[in-house]
Symmetry: D2
Subunit: 315 residues, 4 copies
């Protein structure tokens, strides 16, 4: 994730200008404001703005004239209560804005979360940089044999080599051809004056899905947590999960009480179906239950046993 | 709009605490942060938080590493361009949060704008205050005779008196009965120990639609302008328009370049239909056009003439 | 819920016109199409249109060229899988439209669900009917002493009588004054020719919150279930729950496999926090756990014990 | 757009099954239900379901018990009125669902419209087909020299040849390598038993942005028109405009009165800024106005002259 000197300078300039404000401010988040937090081989997440803090959640829940907060212990209790009972609207009262650099195939998963605002770098208007994602060795996984949308063992030796070669060569060649079709020199004039360049909006179709794009992404706290509950989850594809984990780190800094409640009730919690709840009650009563007598399908049974830490569920 | 001493003190405390921030800050908006701006007889609008400024619109449009802004003249030009060509997403990158006190019948119109976040004071949980809206004399209008959803002449003399008496007496009586049914004393104990109070969530149904409620309302800049284009418009009911005008005032302070472009392209602009455009072209060519030859329906014709300042359109 | 003869006739006309379609059709839902299903004393829910069926969920999940369905058992399995793993988008592919008549205070809770389309009867444009909600005796509850937003015991005897009298008299008087202020006769002319009527948009503010309004409400299947999971829940206010239960009945008819999965995973299921899950694991292992050793707050502990059917949780 | 025999058979089966319904039905749309309407070289649009018709707009606007419609002329008038005055909610009461096959770079523009429901064919779960978009000769345009996001002249001769060769070869090679990395035979077993295949969710990153994907896309009538006003516009990229034009054709069949009003007020209409309106008034008054005296920027001036048909605006 090398920034150009110009980019790094712009960030430095932003970080040099402090102003005074009457708004709620979060020093722990200000510390990393504007800094790029690296993700994958060339990606990053930058917090570029935020609105509100844990107190703003409390303030909105109470529709108060002032801060709404009383003591930390009371705020913590209220935030836990809101989370537990799915009173989601007070969490919508905080907002955060990120600048993210990410591979296009990750961007395509990400954008499916519609309750957010997005401005993406335009490849109709501008020329994309030559940076693409190559998985690290330890993430070069085979297709799972049990889960149609999962990964199995890591590829090794020549199998891995071959894949990395193909990905690198194809992305490189396709970018080179993209540049050739554009035919734009550094000075904005044709690189080859003897021919016309293809329109940017057309040339981009030759690029591969691992090329990096970037966008501004703004979302409220409730929807950020919803995104994280799906994308920081073990079932999410590794590449988007890598981003979700960095976002989760910024959540901890921004709204520590909310983040804690989120880990307790959403990330670390589980949902039991009506039938699964019956099974749990029987087990607590000391009864031996097996899949056949549980009323659960085999796959549901394995998932429940995994949740209860009693045996691993096949994926 | 009398605040209690406790409420005023809370606001003073908030305004006394300045902190430092690296975020974009708007001094002209900070000046009125937290202060209640009066609307109608007991209502108000308070700006309680904001995110971004004109520069943030530019920054998002350019997906920049730094501020994105260059010179004011360039920013102004870009913002005008975005507004003119309906590139709305950069305007979604700013956010503002209000605390609003408003009559319930106004709240019912307002809430129809769904792309916003709301936390309303809960009458299931709490007891509402005894404050209701009474129109000022000059807004006590008769039903329009030409527009089924408009106002006509102002009522006068005994007609006006009678209406105000009815509104005042009914709202007062209904509130008194609400309090009687609740049967809650100031100390939280039954006012009349001999009987049980009705549940708050039921008692509230006796209140009239002019009673004041309040909420926190958070919205992005694009959707705020969409709200204003409908609610600061002459066709909007006066009571909600009174709120829209105060919001418009906060817009001017918050994002002056955007507000100017909004007034130029949305508030002060017009939309012409295909047929109306043809009429305009013929008129520019010096042709005399009347309704019969215009291809427009009579009402459309009157609306177009009004837009062109050629004769008043009946409402 | 007495319909006028004219309204009943309109419904009969609609039910008399069958047409042929190539679209997915659900006979069990067609049976009750357009019929008003009564709710509360004067309200109703009418299904006025729908799009898709259980098969459409399967079809979307498979992005298929045909129906997507195979056998009922496979469809059931897939729908359960989607529900269990929160793959919500296939459920968004079905849509339903209702005509609902409901008290204004219920409408105000209902409208908080923003992911739906609404057209409400306009009191700016039209005159509202004189129908208001009076709770049945068995729903006339006192304020709960343990839950600030709940109900306690039912009021009895003279306490109940007094409340019903107040609600009835105030609603009646306020409506009469509304009509007086409007001053519109049945023929559209002034009832009292000696004075001007107040604008409809103003006169309505005198009405009470238990007056009935009506709207068209359209929502996709996923968001309908989200609405039901909150509003058919025991914590919801009785009056909106009465509507949710009728909606739930239409869900059963419309998409029986989805409805079954919804009852199994959402309505009948539970969410356990990370700490609650630890408690459950210890209990299954045969350990005695009490609140003090559980790591849960007293209220959380009571809620968990209630879920596990071990002792009633105080509300 | 060759369908496989299996796909064509599935469509035939769907079209063979008529059922009776009480819902509003649109014969002109039923005629093309399920049929693929070709777009670009391999893409299509299929209408797979719909809800409502012109009458449903009227019905919702009137919150009626029956059809709401009276005579065609009245319905037309009401629909025009709603469109002209931006009463958008009645148009949200109709819904349509499409199955679309489209290049990934088009899908990336399309998905930016968030107020719709989408289920995309999953390349985590399944293997994509080997079909990619190659522009027809007449669409192989050079970069515009005046508009940074537009097209200029069409490429010719060897320039065009070279571009088409590059696009074809790179897409073909990258797909072949995708298949090689997957290493899946037609029978689901490894094509080369000596090595492990790469996970589908990873292999896909080697594909080019002109590869075809497909999705189910469901949207309400209001938002469909909003999409069309942006994407059937001359400023939209040709490739997405090709889809928008087919959607527009389905709109004409589905809701002819609404489609007509949409063409009159949105597609064929114009928006004038406050300053542009002043210019128009002066021109109608017979005054000579030029850019310098207009108060408009040069670009705005050119755009206005183009709208008024007085001279071509440079793009």
């Amino acid at each position: 994730m090398p920034l150009t000197k110009e980019q790094a300078d712009e960030i430095e300039r932003l970080r040099a200008e402090k102003t005074q404000t009457l708004r709620a401010t979060v020093p722990a988040l200000e510390e990393l404001l504007y800094h790029p937090l690296p993700v994958l081989d060339h990606g990053f997440v930058r917090v570029v703005d935020y609105m509100g803090d844990d107190g703003a959640v409390v303030q909105a829940a109470r529709v108060s004239y002032g801060k709404g907060t009383k003591r930390v212990s009371e705020d913590r209790g209220l935030i836990n209560y809101l989370m537990r009972h799915r009173h989601t609207t007070p969490f919508e009262m905080c907002e955060i804005k990120y600048h993210v650099k990410l591979p296009i195939f990750v961007a395509r998963q990400w954008i499916r979360h519609r309750t957010a605002n997005v401005n993406e770098y335009s490849a109709r208007y501008s020329i994309l940089d030559n940076e693409f994602y190559l998985p690290a060795r330890e993430h070069l996984a085979a297709q799972s044999e049990t889960n149609r949308q999962g990964r199995g063992d890591v590829l090794e030796g020549r199998d891995a080599e071959r894949v990395l070669d193909l990905l690198r060569e194809d992305a490189t060649r396709n970018y080179d051809h993209y540049a050739e079709m554009l035919n734009e020199g550094a000075d904005g004039k044709p690189a080859d004056p003897g021919r016309k360049g293809l329109a940017r909006e057309l040339a981009r179709m030759n690029l591969t899905l691992n090329l990096y794009t970037q966008w501004y992404w703004k979302i409220d706290l409730y929807n950020l947590m919803h995104f994280l509950s799906l994308r920081a989850d073990a079932h999410a594809q590794y590449e988007i999960r890598a981003y979700a984990e960095v976002l989760l780190h910024t959540l901890d800094r921004w709204v520590p009480l909310t983040a804690q409640a989120f880990r307790e009730h959403a990330m670390g919690g589980v949902r039991l179906s009506a039938t699964a709840l019956k099974v749990v009650k029987r087990m607590i009563a000391g009864e031996k239950v097996d899949q056949a007598s549980s009323g659960l399908q085999p796959r549901e049974w394995r998932e429940l046993m995994a949740v209860l830490g009693r045996e691993p569920a096949a994926k």
